[in-house]
Symmetry: C2
Subunit: 194 residues, 2 copies
Amino acid sequence: MARPSLKTQRSHEILAAFAACVARYGLEGATQERVAAEAGVKRTLLRHYLGNRDEMIDALIDHVAADFDAQTEAMLAALPATGRVPALLDLLFDWQRPSDGDRVMTYQALVTAAERLPRAGQAMAAGTEHFAAALRRELAMAHPGAPDEAVTAATLGLMALAFNAEALAPLDLPESWASATRRAADSLVATLEV
Amino acid sequence: MARPSLKTQRSHEILAAFAACVARYGLEGATQERVAAEAGVKRTLLRHYLGNRDEMIDALIDHVAADFDAQTEAMLAALPATGRVPALLDLLFDWQRPSDGDRVMTYQALVTAAERLPRAGQAMAAGTEHFAAALRRELAMAHPGAPDEAVTAATLGLMALAFNAEALAPLDLPESWASATRRAADSLVATLEV
DNA sequence: AAATAAATTTTCAACCTTGACAATTTATGG
DNA sequence: CCATAAATTGTCAAGGTTGAAAATTTATTT
């Protein structure tokens, strides 16, 4: 017998706007005013739905972590039944992608803040390990004979290449680097062949 | 016939403090008050030596870029006459190092701000290419027979591994990742063997 | 249409950050 | 000691950011 709550939807919209602002301006630069403008609502609504700034940041951490995990799962779900590793590389190093670059920038901002915000550090660490584990599982399945250490090494190599490509995207680096990055990834996978 | 100027020294101290604050709080979070406290001077001195905030940021960009390049040169200078590539890997992936982690964090903050601050983007891009070129030269010298594309791929792979290790340092990731990172680096170099 | 609970807007005070300039102190050369 | 130029400190106003709560509007149920 009351007006229906928009809490879930609005909170989500606001957190998405928050994440976008963090990606663009950094955590400290993502003021409530900017987030409100990005979300297209009054500043006081942020407070209404998410509380004060500290509480907003806590919510953001959870949001980004969930988003990261969802991205990992979506990546796995998009893989075909056979030839999964080549498909995985195509996904990780597809430069035509509509650049969810914001995601990695937000992630980086929270990683940087880990010292001041232990919760952020824990959440980002968990997400990173989750992603690495998924990558590792695919490599291990495709190369059952490869020694564990080699699989782990290739996993970290792929992850570093993928993260780095996104993190440095704001710089206009030579185009040739894109193909070289993919080639490095292929080399790492090739180390797992018998 | 006047008091000697401290401009050079003080400017340097202040910029170092600025860089440290940017690493810790992000660019927007590095307020003049915090920088002044970090440098141990009154806020008004920042203005005296470096001008207003925009001018301070311009100076910071130059400072960080110069620092980055100096680091690259120092790395090269530290290499022995023979066995340069293994020594290079030891330098890049030495986890005992007293962690100049601040440097990479500051770098990351400026990369993130590239969209708003084109000068920052240009400077960080130049530094990155300088670093990559140095790496590439070493690999090419040690492996004259390797095809250009392979050398470039290995270069980017090493760079990604090194940057990533530093960028994710604030997270307490599994210790085993350190050795796996080194192993991935070794694998990339091994792709250049005949 | 009346009651209800939620959305949305309004408003105000406290705090922080910055810019700018005036005032003062201090070290050096003559 | 004196003149000079620089370092250092002091102060104030303007603008932006946040916290908090009150007032108003709106959608839904009965």
